[in-house]
Symmetry: D2
């Protein structure tokens, strides 16, 4: 008998990816998947890629979830706190939403609004000390998708004094699944195919999370919507510190033992498709000839390392399982 796992909010894209990963996990048994409007529908009617999984969505109430050993919350922002509060302390919980990521309640109020739900252990195992902290926690707030891509590129460089935290500029492009499974005109295939656009210019809600996780003091962050279902490519630029350590050396050492973060060989640059369906992050760093800026590029699957994969990685640590259990480091490409 394996570990009993439940997913709340399983009808969205991150939820679907969680169900796929759970189905392939050697230790997990899926016992419940809940959904708001889809309660009562077969899982495979909503997620045709899961045809063969014989389960019906339940409704998202704590009673359905409390029976599990491990609960993933993949709910809209602001809905996790109430559910989590109703679960026994012994149930391990990984929240894929933003509710418990921020330390600064003011930042929460400014970017999300509403009351701050409190702060959980931050679910990015590759940050210093975080692997241990996650292993000791019963409540973990998994990192946001843009924050994963940016933080893995930037945090070690700021910490090592390789780049200045004072003027970080990030432009990050995401596939459309990052916008969720909402029936909106601007997300129609007819609108997004063949199209690049920007959105939430000047004030994306991941900014405070990225600053908290990277140590950036000033952050210009512009998100771009790209014509593909999955993937984030982040271009992170920062000024080098005079006499600071070599950025590539810093990143290579920072991730020497990380099974899912790869600094690519020199000359190779990240591509999102190489991470599709995997839990990997690919990184490369260079210097701009003209401006002297350090340029770090990172690629992830926004639903993998950016959401469901990351959450499973955290859960593995919380449960004392191998960090890599049920996760692939290899992308589905082409």
């Amino acid at each position: 008998m394996g570990i009993r796992v439940a997913v709340a909010g399983a009808s969205g894209y991150a939820g679907g990816e969680l169900l796929r990963l759970i189905a392939g996990h050697p230790e997990f048994d899926l016992v419940a998947a809940t959904a708001h409007s889809q309660a009562g529908a077969p899982v495979s009617a909503v997620h045709p890629q899961l045809t063969g999984i014989d389960l019906v969505f339940g409704s998202t109430d704590p009673a359905t979830l409390a029976d599990a050993d491990l609960v993933f919350l993949a709910l809209p922002h602001g809905q996790s706190a109430a559910i989590a509060a109703a679960l026994p302390e012994t149930v391990k919980v990984v929240d894929l939403g933003a509710d418990h990521r921020l330390i600064d309640a003011d930042a929460w109020a400014r970017y999300y609004g509403g009351p701050h739900a409190g702060t959980w252990t931050y679910g990015l195992p590759e940050l210093p000390g975080q692997r241990t902290a996650i292993a000791a926690a019963n409540r973990v707030a998994a990192t946001g998708c843009y924050a994963v891509a940016t933080t893995l590129a930037l945090a070690p460089l700021v910490a090592a004094g390789a780049v200045s935290p004072d003027d970080v500029v990030v432009v990050a492009s995401s596939g459309t699944s990052g916008a969720g499974r909402a029936a909106k005109i601007h997300l129609l295939g007819s609108e997004v195919m063949g199209d690049l656009s920007v959105y939430k210019v000047g004030a994306h809600q991941h900014v405070p999370e990225i600053k908290q996780a990277t140590g950036a003091a000033s952050l210009s962050f512009t998100p771009v919507l790209a014509p593909m279902p999955r993937g984030i490519l982040a271009t992170v630029t920062a000024r080098p510190v005079d006499g600071g350590p070599d950025p590539r050396e810093v990143l290579t050492q920072a991730y020497a033992d990380a099974p899912f973060v790869h600094v690519l060989p020199e000359g190779a640059w990240p591509r999102t498709s190489a991470t599709l369906g995997s839990n990997s992050c690919h990184l490369q760093v260079g210097t701009d000839v003209d401006s002297g800026r350090v340029i770090v590029v990172s690629a992830i699957d926004n639903l993998g390392k950016g959401a469901a994969g990351q959450a499973v990685q955290c859960a593995n640590l919380m449960l004392g399982l191998p960090e890599t259990a049920g996760l692939s480091a290899y992308g589905v490409m082409p």
Copy 2:
């Protein structure tokens, strides 16, 4: 110590997918990957999705391969026979190429040209009796991608007398990876994105294989190139036989025990993306109101059930492993 596995022709798309599946297989150890022009290059330089696999391509000669327990041949048509002949009988071989599929040497000459290499056990486990035959074979010719999609849709209906073999019309669309990793203008992203086109109209080389595998007596087959990397959607139409059995019933029974072939619930129709990265085939069948024709639609991943996944499934059977070892039934979607 696991089963020692080698892949010849591993630098192409099917080869890359084989390497990915082997890396995730619980019993396989990859001992060699060979390539013609890429010999000497790191595997991850050619397949960035396999970053983390520390292996260099060897050259494709029998000595490199003979040391393995299991060899996959993912070579261009016409190159398998010579390699296979040089391997000991004790080495199990799965050929992803066309060389050993056809029984009829004339058909080979007509559609492929050159001498016929002989006929191996046909690698489509879901055909009646074929699972047993594959389990007993040391040499298996895996099914072609279009043939998988068409045969799974059609063969049981012809065999059961549900449809006539006399006037089968198939239009099947494939993602571009089906055309291989060849630097050709008409396969450039600029040319294929936003575009649908037909090719090899009237005489595709999979026609004799499909007729052999399905029992179709007359087959009109038109392939379409679709703007996506992977996936085949086949629309198979045939005339019903008066008084014949119900097509949906026939298909449901034919695949009752097949772990990778799913007849979808009534009202649901196959989508290629639901099979992406998986070894699944999704099927549905209906009747055209105006013409009375039976319409069967099937969806696969051309590199999964249509190539590498199918080959691993056959290898599992040849080695006495669970048919599903190292394979996922669930797609990476969206």
Copy 3:
């Protein structure tokens, strides 16, 4: 002072393309664009590609339209009749919807439901005699998108006795704009990119229109949704008639004087991208070696020759203008 033109239902995709074509037409002055839910919004807020057109959507009532010399109706099925009835006979009207295409009221009832609005002159100028009929008409029902692609491929062959009308099989793939600008989950970019799927299998509403326009007696028609915004590729197969004329010769002669229908040189096959944004239809024909079936492939832009371009072409004829005024025969490619 040019011809005063109004568009009803201008907020959808066909409506937007009409506005673009009208803006580039040498004789047309756009005087009104109406929309249901978007009334009051600037045109460019709904159609950002029309930035620079300084017009606000009106509401769709006859008074707004009656002042024009020419009215295009791009309304949902079933809404044209009431509007048209309220317009003076002297106003020329082209209906892009299905309401007035069918001769057979029973077929209307069976495929669309509701009362039959009556039959207008059929707006496919390339059919024999139709150019003259359209020129004489004040009310024209423009052809449906799938019907354009299929009819141009098939009608001359049936009429000339080159193929049998008795067993026509069509599989036609369309870009997503054919499904309209409706906020539906299954049309999201995340769902359609990388995906092929079938829909309305066995009973598409264009079937009676295609039969009426082509003379097909039995028609199996399967539509496929393809991952691109625009374009239809139709594969039309029919049995040849013994001793009948050469199909390619028939098509070449049928379209010798048609400025927008091109039978491609031998060896070249249609591609949808070559027609993007244009009013052209590309055709090629071959014979299937195995089955002997005649295979005609046609490509159009579903919003061009399949909708707005076709409608402008009809309007040009109705107004005594050159058939090609304001229309391009050349696609935007790549």
Copy 4:
């Protein structure tokens, strides 16, 4: 009899778009199209979107071109100078290549290598005074695609003292046609669909051109390859100058009389698809809440305003025609 126009290097993507625009131009008569490897082939065999144009590619020698009134050079970098030198001064020439754009011969040597061909009038009519300069010139060097997108966003702001030239950071994504029609593995549809990647990080050859055209003193420029055939979306960030003028006001005034550059209404942000096939550039500007940086976003069609459209616009000015002749301000969307 119209103006006699020839295109050298007409088999590439920019060349094809030039031919399309020339075919639709009210004053231009295409008299010759030359190509290197495709000499002797029908134009429509290389550019199927131009089916109906009855012309064969000539070889690229000056004798073929000298007979024209106007010559467009769409040749690989380094090949324009020799051809141009052999043309009579009376022939007006627009070079779409980079050879004659740079003033600084050292910058040419550093980024392109080889001898500097000299400097022609810079073909960006929207820069102050440039419309007049182009109208007076017989030789014009049209702007590079990334340079168009970046310069239109940035140059007025630097000139007006709204932003500092000292630390400009640009991340710009381009569709694949920007990489040209070269048969390369990494440009295959299978490789680029579903993928974002960076290239030429830290030293793109458009950097010196952009600095020259915008007045930027320090420029970090990172190009991204996006999964679509056409379009450039540039995100341009710079520090505001204390007490400087309002950026949006500056841009609005700068382009008040420019028929193809549109500062979008507040709240609307540029999308590449809205410019597809057109000669328009869409702009919007905002301020980043956290960093205070000014963020300007621009969208163009890289083959339209970024290449062929721009070149035709320049030619119109050189010939005393309306600037907008033969060009559309409206995109083909969706």
